[in-house]
Amino acid sequence: MPFAYSLPWPPEMDLVYIKFDYTSGYSYDALNIKRNNSTDIQVPEWYPAYNRNEPMAFIKSQSDRFIQARFWIDRTGFNYAGIYADMSGSGIGDVPEQSVNFNDTQYATQTLECSGSVPNSVGIRSFSWNWYVTYIDEVEFEEPIWIAESGDHEYYTVLDEPQSPMAEPWTEVLDYACDWASGRTYRRGALQDLTESLYEYGVEYDGGTHYTSGSYTNLNLTSLLNDLSNPSSVEMDCRDFSNFLQVLLNALGGDCQYNRIDRTSYPYYFCYNYIWPAGWGSYTFGGCWNYHQVGWYGSEVADASTKIDNDANPRSSPFSWKLAVGDMSLTSYIEKLTSDDDVESVATGTCTVF
């Protein structure tokens, strides 16, 4: 005797994964980022079956980002389903209802357009999506049926296309850059925050060689980031400070460089006026340097390694301590830093990292 059997209705559905960075560029999707020099961010970034939830990064104010999502349905026999997602938190927008094509299979991978904009300021934020199905083939449900929640999706917001040496930013760098410059909407403001935060972080200026070696520009960023978990154990020279500042701002889309200054006449070294180096308990005067290296942004100096005495007489008290945060011309900066002659820029450029 035949047995009448009908499968449950509606069919069960699930969200398998989400890719946020699924193209090589960033015109439609998230930026290419990596965790550090040796570890990539895995894509799909959100893949619960593998217990994976990786962060991503977007440029501020970008609208209508695309993602790629893969869905599962418990049986074949259906061609399409209407799916949307509501966002909670601070994110890149809702996913308006779009048709997902199963084509008589159990899996559908679909590019979906979000409706909304990335926040317009630097930050580390997160959001989640609740996913619903509204119809399967021609059958429209009276109420949308919840199929999954995804998230929390954590993401970094940067200001513009990241620049070398952070053309592909490291999340270990973005953790600092997006925290320190949080809320900033333009690069000069971000540079100010980054310079001040780095100066105050607790690392100590020292004129030896610690993280930049061999040339003036090859920064051991991997070791520096490892050591920063214990900032009071870290000594950085002016090259380390200027190169790290460059790394931080350029990860956010700035175009900071280093500028090395030197005395171009005999005796080819110079002695500083009153300065207050990072991490030192007090100011000092009269030490001598073979050169000094600072951050260089839009023809202005940013120097997280030391404050200078910015009053009319930087060789005596009282003091007017000033941290150059991308708001001093090189000439003004050098005038306060040293009273020696012929101290000037000898090289500008971009550092490399490893």
């Binding site: 020099n37 040796s38 570890t39 070398s164 040496p165 952070m166 053309a167 592909e168 100590e204 200026y205 020292d206 004129g207 030896g208 060689t209 610690h210 070696s213 061999g214 040339s215 520009t217 090859n218 051991n220 991997t222 070791s223 050591d227 214990n230 009071s232 154990s233 000594e235 020279d237 002016c238 090259r239 070294y269 002695c271 180096p277 991490g279 030192w280 308990g281 000092t284 005067f285 009269g286 030490g287 001598c288 340097w289 073979n290 050169y291 000094h292 290296q293 450029g349 971009t350 490399t352 990292v353 490893f354």
Partner: protein, 276 residues
């Protein structure tokens, strides 16, 4: 033949004299152990002996200078950075010191700290240029290079002098011998020597250590270290984030190996070309 014989005899005598000089018996005969290389230096033991209230935070190879050890005192976070490198010869150590002094931003002064003498040769720096507030010292002792820095520990000169005295007294944390056997870089292999932008290649350093100690490797410029790679394998990635300008053309990669006793090899070099 005569010259060869003479040369061999001289070497025998020299070795005999050196053995007397470097051995404990040398002291009885009134010799110092001058000209005898330092062949091991245990920075951890040195710290336990001379910095008992400090903890070792980390130790890491610092290019061909040697290995940097960071000591920190819990009570006030006072921190001392000490780099120690044992080089094949005093000439090698002197060359490394000279490169360092030419590279750094602070202008270190040679000698001239009153009556203080540290090692065979020393340099110092003070933030005020006077000798009362020394924060950085570099000294050479035979084949050994020492670089000390601290802005929070007030007796850096004392520590440097103590290490120097410990070497003279052959403290238990170091060893002086007739000769030094250094790690030797046998070859540096490249999977590909010619790349295009975006390509990468493996750099494999093959080195031996006469004392069979584990080796730590460094390259300059620094290369990518993938977690899956053995200690002696690096990856050169031809991207502008990692390769200096001029990007296109030939790039020299230098390699060094350092053993557990802080003995540093001589450098080895290879060339990698990035084509348009």
């Amino acid at each position: 033949m005569k010259n060869k014989y003479f040369s061999g005899l001289s070497m025998l005598i020299a070795a005999f004299v050196m053995q007397i000089c470097c051995s404990d018996a040398g002291g009885i005969l009134g010799f110092s152990h001058s000209d005898c290389p330092i062949v091991t230096f245990d920075a951890v033991q040195m710290g336990q002996q001379n910095l008992p209230d400090f903890n070792l935070v980390r130790g890491r190879a610092q290019w061909n200078r040697g290995r940097e050890f960071v000591f920190q005192r819990t009570s006030d976070q006072a921190t001392i950075h000490l780099t120690i490198g044992l080089h094949p010869s005093p000439t090698d150590a002197n060359k490394v010191a000279s490169d360092y002094l030419n590279e750094i931003s602070m202008r270190m002064m040679e000698g001239g700290l009153g009556n203080t003498q540290i090692g065979d040769k020393f340099w110092w720096w003070s933030p005020t240029s006077d000798s009362d507030n020394v924060t950085n010292i570099l000294f050479l002792k035979e084949n050994a290079l020492f670089i000390l820095s601290s802005h929070s520990y007030k007796n850096l000169v004392g520590l440097a002098r103590k290490i120097d005295e410990d070497i003279n007294a052959k403290a238990a944390y170091l060893k002086v011998a007739e000769s030094i056997s250094v790690p030797n870089i046998v070859s540096v292999g490249l999977a590909k020597s010619s790349l295009r932008e975006g390509d990468s290649t493996k750099v494999t350093i093959v080195a031996t250590d006469p004392n069979d100690e584990p080796l730590e490797y460094q390259t300059q410029p620094g290369l990518v270290k993938l977690p899956i790679d053995p200690d002696n394998v690096f990856t050169f990635v031809a991207t502008r984030d990692q390769v200096s300008e001029p990007f296109l053309g030939s790039h020299q990669v230098k390699c060094v190996a350092i053993n557990k006793s802080n003995v540093v090899s001589r450098l080895a070099e290879i060339k990698i070309t990035i084509n348009p």
